[in-house]
Every structure is written in C-alpha cells, then in structure tokens.
C-alpha cells in the first residue's frame, strides 16, 4: 500500500509516464541503437531477402528481383559479425598466415568470430531483460502483476535455466549459421567444385590453387590410416575443422550449424501451426462443449490412430515431384506433416486446462454482460492455457527434431546435400568404432542435448506457471514429462 502519487497520475498513458521520467528509457534506446548499428546490414539483408523470396513464390514474382538486389546490396555492407571483418580462411606461406584476421592462425580467428556471435546474443538478451526490469520499475502502472511471480520463479529454477541456455545456444547457432561456421554451406557443401581456394604446398613450397571439391577429397574422414580429420584439427590444406570433417571431407561444424537451422525451422514451424490449431480447437471445444467437443474428439482420435511414421513416408513419396516438396528442400512438407500429426496431442494436453478455465465464473460473468464469445475466449480463457501450450509444444518440438533426424537417418528425410543432423549420424555410422567416431557421435550428442534442453525449459515453465506441481513425482509433472519421445 505505498500509493503516494495522486490519482490523476495513475491515469497517465505510457507515453506521458515515459515523458515524465525519460532517463532509463533513453539509455535503453541507446543500447538498442548500438546493437542495431553493429548488425544493421544483416537484419536488412535477411528481411529484404525474405520478402524477395516470398514474392518469388507468387506467379510472375513481382518485385522479387528488386528485393533480391537490395538484399544483396546490404549483404555486402560491413558489419560486426561477418566473415569479411574477421576472416578465418587463409594459407600459411611458410612464415606467416596470409588472409586471416590480424594474421592469426585460422583456429583463433574462427574462435574470435564464434565467441563474438555469442557475446552479441548475450548482450541482446541482457538488453531485453534490462528493458523488462526498467519497465517494471519505472513505467508500469501496476506495481505487481501475476507475470512477475512467474518470471521470479523461473529465475530460480536452475534446471529450467539450463534448458533456456541450451535453447539459446541452439537458436543462435541456427540464426547465425552463415557466420558461425569456419566455412559456408554454399562453398563447402553445396557447390564445392564451383569455388577455388589457395593453399601452401609444402613439397613445392608454393601457394597453389585448387577447387574446394578437390581439397575436400584430401580432407575426408574415413576411419582408417591417414584419412581422418578429427576434432579441433587442421587438414592438409590449412583449413581448420572445429569438430572434424565428414566422410566426404566437408566441414562437420558448418554442416551442423546449417542442420540446426533446418531442424529449428521445421520444429518451430510445425509447432506454430499445430499450436495454433490446438489452441483454437481447445478454446472452441471448452466454450461450446457438446457437439463441437465430440467432433474434435473423433477427428483427433482418427488422426492419432494413423501410424505416423507410415503416413510421413507415404507423403514424402506421394509429394516427391510436387512443388511443395521443393520449398526449402522439403522442409515445408515436413512442417505441414508434423503439424498435422502433432496437433491432436497438443490439443489433448491443453483441453483439460481449457475446460477448467471455461468453468470459471468469470466466463459466466462475461457472458452475463454480453461479451462476444470470441473475446471471452481470447481474453478470459486463452491466457490461462498458453502457458500449458508452451510447455507441451516445447516438449513436442524435441520429438519433432528427433523424428526429422530419424527420417533422414533412414534416408527419407531432407534430401542431400542440404545438411541435416540425422544424415550425418547415418553417414558416420560405420566409422563409430574407428578414429572417425566424431561423424556420428557429435551430431548424436547435439540432438540429445537440444532435446534435453527443450524438455528442461518446458519443466521450468511448467513449474513457474503452476508452482503446485513443483517436485511432484506423478500427476501433472509425470504427464508433462512423458511427451518428449520421438
């Protein structure tokens, strides 16, 4: 009860409250400007590129050219996190490293860029958190909200924070894939024979030029004898490989970074669609009950009764030459398939909470003064089930990542050469017992880590939104934890 301000002040809109006390907000804005300036070209490049790609899908592709060229223009501009600013590829001319950042060894040049990316993301997250704290302290009209408690509980949930850290690590790797790898997917994986590189030939003591494809032949990891480039080592061409190379000699780290992008894209995409379907249906069934509920129960049971793996395999074959499987090397098809397969599970999971909140008297109260059903669902019901949706969606997301990898493992998933973790595991399978163990093991460990991370994060969110369930062995906790498998 520390209400000291007069009544009039409470009524001010946010704009006036900002004007009255601009200091912290200006500082916050300044940090944002710095962060944007450092990476501005990347954002513009990405944004315009996405618009261009979107327009390219339309018949006639109006304006796609212009966006693509604008995107390319911004892509050329210098910015902090770029291969051009901190290059790691070069050659040793017998006395010094040529073409690398400050003449450093490629290893260190790459490491600096890698760490700089994570430092940038850390600052970005810190800036977001700082903004939240500032808003809470200086600008929010309410001195307490229920969300505060949720966030405070999550802050002291170390398992959940571990999950958050893993997820951030993974998302950063996916988002900055072109910058974070020692080489690029285009040059190293997709078109190795279209690009040249220079290296120092120790026998002839000259700098020679080969295509990357030829170099890759010399850097292959095939288990036996000399042909292995393991973890944290150079190949014969002076290229640094943080986690070794693939059987084809391509860089495994670059492969993993772009694979993360694909896994995340499929996982988030399918969960966004499935989550939207599940939430809409949960709200409608909990509000109207009766026949609406019955129809959805029957539909979801029918979907769940289909053997998911067979359905996916069938669909990949049926849509083989269809335009939809051209989108992002078939990733779009998987997004739609997994959204179709996974929404019933999500809906089942949030149906209980939705029915519960639908029985609350505040819903009746809203009906009694004539609130529209759509608004009642959005305002009085949805906020109570979104937390649960987040929990189950992040659990299911782990399952989707595993499923996609599993499909690639058996050769049905994303087509080569697009990087996909499951394919790396498949390729390296026969070398597990040899010195080239890294090909299978590292992607395998990464999948385990990422799925564990998503599960840990969902544990944390669940305990934060529903403290009663904390530490519970059975019941809700057990039910929530059960959904993570493939």
């Amino acid at each position: 009860m520390m209400e000291t301000e007069p009544t009039e002040d409470i009524d001010q809109p946010l704009r006036d409250r900002l004007k009255a006390h601009p200091g912290p907000a200006l500082l916050w804005g300044a940090i944002l400007c710095v962060l944007l300036l450092l990476e501005g070209p990347t954002y513009l490049d990405g944004l315009l590129g996405a618009i261009g790609a979107g327009l390219g899908l339309l018949p006639g592709a109006p304006g796609a050219e212009a966006f693509a060229s604008a995107s390319a223009y911004f892509g050329e501009l210098p910015h902090l996190l770029s291969r051009e600013l901190i290059p790691n590829r070069g050659y040793y001319d017998g006395s010094a490293w040529q073409g690398t950042f400050l003449g450093l060894e490629p290893k260190y040049a790459w490491l600096i860029r890698f760490l700089l990316v994570y430092a940038y993301v850390a600052v970005l997250l810190g800036w977001l958190w700082y903004g939240y704290v500032l808003f809470r302290r200086h600008y929010r009209a309410a001195d307490w909200t229920p969300t505060d408690d949720v966030i405070d509980r999550l802050r002291s949930h170390y398992w959940g924070l571990f999950g958050l850290a893993v997820v951030v690590f993974f998302v950063t790797m996916a988002a900055f894939a072109p910058v974070i790898g020692p080489t690029t997917a285009e040059e190293n994986i997709e078109g190795p024979y279209s690009y040249d590189m220079q290296y120092y030939n120790e026998d002839t003591e000259t700098v020679e030029t080969v295509t990357i494809g030829e170099a890759n032949l010399g850097s292959a990891s095939r288990g036996s004898g000399d042909s292995n480039v393991g973890v944290w080592s150079y190949d014969d061409f002076g290229r640094f490989h943080p986690v070794g190379t693939l059987v084809s000699g391509k860089d495994l780290f670059t492969f993993l970074a772009f694979g993360a992008r694909l896994s995340l894209f499929i996982g988030l995409g399918s969960m966004a669609i499935a989550g939207f379907i599940a939430t809409t249906l949960a709200l409608v069934t909990a509000y109207y009950k009766g026949a609406a509920d019955l129809i959805v129960v029957l539909t979801s049971d029918s979907v769940q009764a289909m053997p998911a793996l067979l359905l996916v395999i069938l669909a990949t074959v049926v849509f083989q030459n269809h335009w939809i499987s051209e989108l992002y090397n078939g990733a779009m098809l998987f997004i739609l398939l997994f959204a179709l397969i996974r929404w019933p599970g999500l809906w089942r999971a949030i149906r209980g909470p939705a029915l519960q909140v639908g029985e609350q008297e505040w819903v009746d109260a809203a009906k009694s003064y004539g609130q529209r059903p759509t608004v009642i669902m959005r305002k009085h019901m949805a906020p109570y089930i979104l937390g649960y949706l987040l929990v189950y969606a992040s659990l299911t997301l782990g399952g989707v990542i595993i499923s996609v990898s599993a499909l690639s493992f058996i050769g049905l998933g994303i087509n080569a050469p697009t990087p996909e973790w499951g394919r790396a595991i498949n390729i390296g399978q026969q070398y597990v017992a040899s010195q080239s163990w890294h090909i299978s093991l590292i992607p395998g460990l990464l999948i385990t880590l990422v799925v564990t991370g998503f599960n840990a994060l969902s544990d944390g969110i669940r305990d934060a939104i529903d403290p009663q369930s904390e530490g519970a062995e059975g019941g809700a906790a057990g039910a929530a934890a059960g959904g993570g498998g493939g």
């Binding site: 409470i10 009524d11 309410a142 229920p146 009766g290 109260a365 009694s368 003064y369 609130q371």
Partner: protein
C-alpha cells in the same frame, strides 16, 4: 397474490418487475444415449416487485442457482416465460438480448473464481462498460473509480490485481462490476457464503446500502436461513426444482405452512441450549432431478403425506413401506443405467440385494397387517421376476394417494403467503395439525 402492505420496506413500490410464469429449465446431456434431462427448474411461478429483495432458499441441488441463472439468461429456459418489465426475456436474442443484459446482472458465489486473475481490478470493472461502449475511455475510467469508491475500495486500486485482495474485497470488486451498467435487477448467488462471518455482515450491509442508493431489485439466493431472514423482504422455498412456499420473510419464518418449509426451518439451530427442539428429520435423500416423483415433488420424504383410506396401518409400518418404496425406486432407476447392469453381470455387488432379502430387511421387526403383507409380497414377486418398474407402479397403485399422482396447486394460506401442498385443500387435515397428530413438535403451535 394480494398486494396488501404487511411489512414492506419503504423503498418498495409494489410494482412487479420480474414475473416468472411456469418456468422450466432442463439440462439435456446431449449424450448419444438420450438419457432423461436433469429437471433443475421444473415449473416455477413467482413475482418480484420493484425494489424488493426476494430470497430463494433450499438445499444444495434444488435448482435455486439454475433459476437465478435462467433469470439473467445465462441458461436457456426450456419452457415458460420470464417477463421483465413487460418483456419476455426468454424470447430475446442477438442485439436485443445484449441490450437487455445491462438491466440484469449477477454477483457470483465464489469471489476466488468470479474475477479473472490476469486482469487488473480496473479492467475487470470496466469490461461491461467497454462491451456496451458507454462514454469515452476517460469517462469509463472515471466511472470505475466512482464505483470503487461506492463499494468501499480505493480509487488507486485500479491497477492492482485480484490476487492482492482478500475474499471480502474481491466480492466488493464483483459487486462493482455487477453495478457498472447500472442495472435494475441483480441476482445475488450466495454472495456471502464463501466469506468469513465478520466479513459477511459488511458485505450484506453494503448490499443494503447500494439497494437504497440505486433502487435495486435483488434476487438473493442462499442456503443460510439467518442471512435470508436478515436481508430479504420475501422468501421462496425451493425443493427439487419446485417452489414449495412463498411469503413475506417474517411471516414465513414465524408460521411456515408447507411441510417442507417446516422441516427446513426446524433445522435452524436454537441459540438457547435449554430449549428442547424436536427437529423434523427428513428420511432419505432428495430423489434424482432426472426422475422426480410424479405428483408432489416432496411426496417421497414428506412427514405428513396423505395415506390411502383403505389401508389401516401404524406409523411404523408406513415408515417401512416408504423405505421399501425408496429401495424399489432406486432399483428401477438402477435398471436404466448401463454401467450398473454391466457391474451386476460381472458379479460386482450393486448395493441392491435380492427381493426376499430386501423384504426381510425392511419388515422383519414389524407386524404387517394382512393386506399390506399381501401387497408387499406381490411387489417382491415382480421384483424377483426382474421387473422393478412393475413393482414400483404396483406399490404406487396400492399405497399411493393424491400426493403420488396429482401435482399440488398453490394455496393462499395466509396474507400474501402461498404453499404448494395438497393438505391445504378443504377435504384434508392441514399440514400443521397432521404433524402434531403424527407426533412432531411444531413451532407455530
């Protein structure tokens, strides 16, 4: 119903605001089995005058909350009419219904559940104003502050969340929300039953002050009889979806007429421990509202039920006959349930013994007159033939009376007091006399 003034409160005008005519609200399961609907409100008639507080009392499950919800159109009436200021609101829909809703609001029972915890107090109270687009945003906020003040809260509570308030304060927020649209009629659904006793009095006083200030008409639903006696002008007593008795509060509490009202009121604890009160303990439990008795709804438990003249038996024997009929009734209902039948087939104990055992259990310590004995054996035969419905019908035929076959009508038993009981008819002994005759204490004696 006469309009003579007995103990009306000053703000009453006597003009009818709500007129309920033969209102029925049934809950259909909507299941595939097409089972009987729950007859929550099964033909109710009463009027509420403008400015009065009409109390509705009864056991839990008697349909009083459903009746209240039907009056503000949260439930759809199955049949009958609710005329509000001359308009039949059961016929309204769409824009007309929404427009009408501002006239009638509800205060809910549980203040923990009636406020959305994710919204600030200001947003909660403002929502009805937003829905009906009253005034500008600033005017609405101003209105909310006034309401907060009127219900005894602080204007700066606007940006607080419900979590930060006690039960009594939360109920004040609920009241402010109900009053936001300046309704004429407010349904108070057990507004104080979830609160501490000390807080109950504050809320009741607040409700009375607000009624005075805004000229509100209340429907006050409660099971706490002392609260009803304190706040209500008139009271209706509900049992199994029917209104058993209606009358001015004091009159009804002083001299109840209906047997059910007498039983209900005899359950009020007597503050003086030296006074010996013989409570009218009702046997059994209320029948299922899916399958209410034909005739009078209270017939299965009534202490003064009319007995057929051709059978001469002692009170003890009649008691046993009633219990026996209850058991048969249960058995015949159980026959309708798929689950029970399945359980029986699988050899589980269905809590219903064989016919001989039932008869033995019920009648082994009383001597039955020969004609009663004969009837009971006949019913037992039907039962062991696996036809409990026939047994039930047979028992109703031989032991039943007007109470089992005819729905009573409302009798004017006193000035403005009506009772729903066959015994008020000329040809029968009145409920009070019959109670005394059967050995009960009555406090109107």
């Amino acid at each position: 119903m006469s309009e003579s003034v007995v103990d009306t409160v000053s703000h009453q005008t006597g003009e009818t605001l709500v007129d309920v005519q033969d209102l029925k609200t049934y809950y259909e399961d909507g299941g595939l089995l097409g089972s009987d609907p729950v007859k929550a409100v099964d033909g109710v008639n009463f009027e509420i005058a403008r400015g009065e507080t009409f109390g509705l009392v009864g056991e839990s499950g008697c349909g009083k909350t459903t009746l209240g919800r039907t009056l503000i159109q949260l439930e759809t009436a199955t049949s009958g009419a609710v005329s509000f200021d001359g308009t039949d609101i059961t016929e309204l829909s769409g824009g007309d219904l929404k427009e009408w809703r501002r006239n009638a609001q509800m205060v809910f029972q549980d203040p923990e559940s009636s406020l959305n915890d994710r919204m600030t107090v200001g947003e909660i109270i403002r929502e009805p104003l937003d829905v009906h687009e009253q005034g500008t945003a600033r005017e609405r906020r101003e209105k909310v502050r006034t309401l907060l003040d009127q219900v005894g809260l602080m204007p700066e509570h606007y940006y607080r969340y419900p979590h930060q308030f006690s039960g009594g304060q939360r109920q004040r927020i609920g009241i402010a929300r109900a009053l936001a649209l300046e309704p004429e009629f407010v349904v108070l659904d057990e507004p104080v039953s979830a609160l501490d006793v000390s807080v109950q009095a504050q809320i009741l006083n607040l409700l009375e002050e607000l009624q005075e200030e805004f000229g509100l008409t209340y429907l006050f639903i409660a099971h706490d009889l002392s609260v009803v006696r304190h706040i209500c002008d008139r009271v209706g007593v509900m049992y199994l979806g029917n209104l058993m008795e209606v009358g001015p509060t004091e009159q009804l509490f002083q001299s109840p007429e209906n047997p059910y009202t007498r039983a209900l009121l005899s359950a009020i604890p007597e503050p003086d421990p030296t006074v010996q009160v013989d409570r009218i303990t009702l046997p059994g439990s209320p029948p299922s509202p899916r399958d209410p008795p034909e005739g009078c709804p209270f017939a299965t438990r009534c202490p003064v039920r009319i007995r057929p003249e051709d059978i001469d038996a002692s009170d003890a024997v009649w008691d046993r006959i009633r219990e026996f009929r209850d058991v048969i009734r249960e058995r015949s209902r159980a026959e309708q349930s798929v689950g029970e039948r399945l359980k029986e087939r699988l050899g589980f104990d269905t809590a219903l013994a064989d016919s001989e055992e039932i008869v033995e259990e019920e009648f082994d310590d009383v001597t039955l007159p020969p004609d009663v004995q004969e009837h009971v054996e006949q019913a037992a035969t039907y039962l062991s033939d696996g036809d409990p419905d026939a047994a039930r019908a047979y028992l109703r035929e031989v032991f039943g009376s007007q109470c089992d076959t005819e729905t009573p009508q409302y009798y004017d038993v006193d000035d403005r007091q009506m009772s729903f009981c066959h015994r008020h008819a000329q040809e029968h002994v009145s409920p009070g006399d019959e109670l005394r005759q059967r050995g009960y204490d009555t406090h109107d004696g």
